[in-house]
């Protein structure tokens, strides 16, 4: 008893002494050879987890849930995202024939469009198809995509046949007449479609729909119908088999299923291109017609604006508008009209440029108008007291007659008449009758100042003088009322004449004068009775010959 106790104590002591060393050793060992420990532990972990699941399942679930849950939800979310993106893309692809077809199909089948889209997007892609001799497992022919990576199709064909044989034998022993239909691995599956002497092993990526199965069945049917006998009699000699033809048939299958999408994609790619050309043409024509519409409406607007302008309405002005550039054509009598037409065209908004090709052609040759112009001219001249001008106008021939003050006036008259269009011949019978200057100015008693009336008389005298081509010598005769002294009257007479000369000279310095003082009243004036008329100065012109 005491011996045992002693041993226990010794063990305790030993444990106490060794445990720090052992712990250190373990720590060191972990640091040094972690990899080794990991490889030693690895086989145990599986068992440990299994044991833990057996006894403490909930613990494991709780421990792994946060990780696994996240992982799964992440994966699912991502998958859905991709699917959604694909569907969105297809919906956004807009109004293609594909879309219309799908819409119709959805209506006819009573299925939602989304379902059809899902089916379209669940990518069932045939990677490879192998036609295999049923009994021997010999590969008759195969087709594969670039990404199929069939390393050894012969082996695959044989192995497939072995597997198929195994299953069929096993099923047969269970007395059920059923065959192996497909084998799944990862995201792929091998669909097996068998006929009498051969079968098709089709490697499909992704979810396969009835459509896919039907296609495979159809392909096999066609092959069997056409090449069934050859396949049945196949003994191993490939020269007896129309391998290439069969391959072509299989290729269709590959195209139909896997390349439909590519094809569609290509079609979708080529579609817009095909549409673009007519679209561009359409756009071009639309643009052109729009342009011509714009031009047409601009033309209408300008025409309206010009026609409704009274000054322009009588004239035929045509307007052409091209590319918003307006061209004005036509004939008007005056530059004024041309300018006005330009102004009116410029008032229209949208016109970028105006070419004013309007010609100015003075066309006022209307006899009435010519006659009226002549009449105006002559009337103006006749306002001047001495002129008595008249005319007759027999279209293009003008006959002038009457009297006119001066040659100067006559010349200017003829010059003016020559500018009037419509007059070709002028028969000139105008007689120049010089102006008679005979003016009497009266003064107050003892006054030598010019009365306002006298000034007026002098001014009209000056006007008359202006009309003369040469100023005449003016003769001033001063008469007396014979009241008062002779000397006083003489001085008054001289002062009066001087005043007149000064007045006239302020207006026309070139005038020349000759003055005479008379000590008697003018002829026929009685100074006793009419002394107001006796105090006068007469002005007469002495024409030079």
């Amino acid at each position: 008893m005491s011996q045992k106790k002693k041993t226990d104590n010794e063990e305790e002591a030993l444990e106490g002494a060794l445990s720090p060393i052992v712990n250190r050793l373990i720590d060191k060992n972990f640091e040094k050879s972690g990899d080794k420990i990991a490889s030693q532990m690895a086989p145990l972990i599986g068992g440990a987890i299994r044991e833990q699941i057996k006894s403490q399942k909930d613990d494991i679930v709780d421990a792994l849930y946060p990780v696994m849950g996240n992982m799964i939800s992440k994966f699912v979310t991502k998958s859905f995202e991709e699917l959604l993106n694909k569907i969105n893309q297809q919906i956004q692809s807009g109004l293609s024939t594909q879309t219309i077809k799908r819409k119709l199909k959805a209506k006819l089948k009573g299925v939602s469009e989304t379902e059809l889209l899902l089916e379209e997007n669940a990518h069932a892609k045939i990677k490879a198809a192998l036609l295999i001799h049923k009994e021997s497992g010999m590969l008759l022919t195969k087709v594969e995509n670039e990404d199929a990576n069939l390393s050894d199709a012969d082996m695959l064909a044989s192995m497939m046949t072995a597997i198929r044989s195994f299953v069929n034998e096993w099923v047969a022993s269970n007395q059920e007449h059923q065959e192996l239909g497909e084998i799944e691995y990862g995201g792929n599956k091998i669909i097996i479609e068998a006929s009498g002497s051969s079968y098709l092993a089709v490697i499909v990526e992704g979810a396969a729909y009835t459509k896919t199965y039907n296609k495979i069945r159809h392909a096999l049917e066609e092959i069997v119908l056409e090449y069934g006998d050859e396949i049945q009699e196949f003994q191993g000699d490939y020269s007896q088999l129309k391998q290439e033809e069969i391959e072509k048939k299989l290729q269709e299958l590959l195209f139909k299923e896997s390349d439909t999408k590519n094809k569609q994609a290509k079609e979708n790619k080529t579609h817009p291109l095909l549409y673009i050309v007519p679209l561009l043409l359409l756009l071009f024509f639309a643009y052109k017609s729009y342009e011509s519409y714009v031009d047409e409406s601009l033309k209408d607007a300008i025409t309206h604006n010009i026609v409704t302008t009274p000054a322009l309405s009588p004239y035929a002005i045509t307007i052409d508008v091209e590319d918003k550039n307006a061209v004005l054509k036509g004939r008007v009598p005056f530059a004024y009209h041309k300018e006005l037409a330009y102004k009116k065209a410029a008032e229209i908004k949208g016109v970028t440029q105006i070419s004013n090709n309007i010609e100015i052609i003075p066309t006022l040759t209307d006899p009435m108008q010519v006659s009226a112009q002549i009449a105006y001219l002559l009337k103006g001249l006749n306002l001047s007291s001495a002129n008595r001008l008249n005319y007759t106008f027999d279209y293009k021939n003008l006959h002038l007659f009457g009297t006119i003050d001066s040659h100067k006036q006559k010349e200017s008259l003829l010059k003016e008449l020559s500018t009037i269009k419509g007059i070709e011949n002028i028969q000139d019978d105008i007689i120049v009758t010089p102006l008679k200057i005979n003016t009497a100015l009266y003064f107050g008693r003892g006054s030598y100042k010019l009365s306002p009336l006298a000034q007026k008389e002098l001014l009209s005298l000056l006007i008359k003088l202006k009309k003369k081509e040469r100023a005449p010598l003016l003769v001033l005769d001063a008469y007396s009322d014979m009241i008062g002294s002779k000397a006083k009257n003489t001085s008054l007479a001289q002062k009066r004449m001087q005043n007149i000369i000064d007045f006239l000279k302020t207006y026309d310095s070139k005038l020349t004068f000759k003055s005479y003082v008379h000590h008697n009243p003018p002829k026929g004036v009685d100074p006793q009775k009419d002394h107001d008329k006796a105090r006068c100065v007469t002005i007469t012109a002495k024409e030079e010959k």
């Binding site: 021997s136 012969d154 082996m155 044989s158 072995a162 044989s165 195994f166 003994q235 000699d237 490939y238």
Partner: protein
């Protein structure tokens, strides 16, 4: 271009897999690995591709799946010179092969001849008379590469002839 299938039939452990490995890869391993189900090898000779089916050896409790034999153009039956029962089983194998593929040529390999064995020429002749379809009976050794090529090529020649005749 030719392509055909041959099947090696025999009891378990007679050396079917070893013979194939010697013929296809020209290698040998002392290690025994029982074939489960079927293992298939490919060998190209000239313009012919041979698919060699190495099926699970026959045991008391496990018959050979007939399906594996179907479509074969020839058979190689293998027996172990050191195990009499494997030689005795040859008749059953021949019958099985005949039942599945009539008139398919058969070569018989009496394997492991590198080991000390006792078999008389008379016995070998008897074996060759088991069926008219038996082409040749050969004493082979996968280990020493004895008569392995002969075994396969004899069958190959005959099969090619029959295919061409068709």
């Amino acid at each position: 271009m030719f392509s055909y299938k041959i099947v090696l039939v025999g009891n378990f452990g007679v050396g079917k897999t070893s013979l194939i490995r010697r013929f296809v890869e020209n290698s040998f391993s002392e290690e025994y690995l029982s074939t489960i189900g079927v293992s298939i090898s490919k060998k190209t000779i000239g313009n012919a591709t041979i698919m060699i089916w190495d099926i699970e050896g026959h045991t008391e409790f496990k018959p050979i799946f007939k399906q594996y034999l179907m479509g074969a153009k020839g058979f190689i039956l293998v027996a172990d010179l050191l195990r009499q029962e494997t030689i005795e089983a040859l008749q059953n194998h021949i019958d099985l092969c005949y039942a599945v593929v009539k008139d398919a040529p058969i070569c018989i390999a009496l394997n492991k001849c590198d080991m000390p064995h006792e078999i008389s020429q008379r016995e070998i002749e008897e074996i060759s008379k088991l069926s008219p379809t038996v082409l040749k009976v050969l004493k082979t050794s996968a280990k020493e590469n004895e008569a392995v090529e002969d075994l396969f090529l004899t069958l190959d020649t005959r099969i090619k002839e029959s295919i061409k005749a068709d």
